[in-house]
């Protein structure tokens, strides 16, 4: 489903966001990035990041302390 997966587990703020931004750069508009994170702060941060940048937060889940985000690149 995702065009690229970014494993940001174990990384703390702001690294998951910075690495997600980098990964999105390499994608085309409309493609989907899946991000895995263990940072509980990433829940609020990925929402804010997507609202500000116009990328779409398609889905977010949490299971066993791992947060998964599906982000569709804008454009």
């Amino acid at each position: 489903m995702a065009d690229q997966v970014l494993d940001a587990k174990g990384l703390n703020c702001p690294l998951p966001i910075l690495k997600a931004k980098k990964a999105l750069k390499s994608l085309e508009g409309g493609q989907v990035l899946e991000v895995l994170s263990t940072d509980p702060g990433s829940v609020a941060d990925f929402s804010a990041f997507c609202r500000t940048t116009g990328n779409e937060l398609v889905e977010q889940n949490e299971a066993d302390g791992i947060y998964t985000y599906l982000i569709r690149k804008a454009g």
Partner: protein, 169 residues
């Protein structure tokens, strides 16, 4: 006055930060905010002055001090321990506290300052070094990383008039 004489509005996606502190702990807020803002599409300028200036040096040897910092309580043996000033003042205690902090940073997956600074450079964050501070503390532009501009108060104020968010850290 014709409408062409009016100053254009300030782009909301612009931010400036005055960086005045250069200890290991205080280096974090400006670099975390500048890299994150850049990742969120903002144009960011950092102005390094006084003790913030060493954060631009090629060789970073950042330290933290518990002296005069009652809020600095490190997790140790299942609790949080502060350091009385009289202990903090003993030679070697700052170095030990700095080592402990760096270990914690690594263990918790927090980025190092050199890593965040590299990311800021990569994200085209504009960095201005204060000329007066360079003179005052006898630093040279050659001591600093590539791409740093030199400027003074007027340079910063011009940036601030064109930035929607202006922070002093």
């Amino acid at each position: 006055m014709s409408s062409t004489d009016l100053k254009p509005g300030i782009d909301p996606n612009t931010m400036s930060i005055i960086v005045t502190k250069g200890s290991l702990d205080w280096a974090y807020p400006p670099f975390i905010l500048s890299t994150t803002a850049a990742a969120m599409g903002l144009e960011v300028t950092m102005f390094f002055t006084f003790y913030g200036l060493p954060l631009l040096m090629k060789d970073l040897s950042l330290q933290v001090s518990s002296l005069g910092n009652p809020a600095m309580k490190m997790p140790m043996m299942g609790m949080h321990m502060g350091m009385p000033n009289i202990v903090s003042a003993i030679p070697g205690v700052d170095a030990a506290a700095s080592k402990m902090m760096k270990n914690l940073i690594k263990k918790k997956g927090v980025a190092s300052i050199p890593e965040l600074r590299d990311l800021a450079v990569e994200a085209d964050v504009r960095m201005i070094a204060c000329q007066m501070t360079l003179d005052l503390f006898e630093y040279s532009k050659d001591d600093m990383i590539e791409g740093v501009e030199i400027g003074g108060a007027a340079t910063y104020i011009e940036v601030a008039t064109q930035s929607h968010i202006n922070l002093f850290i």
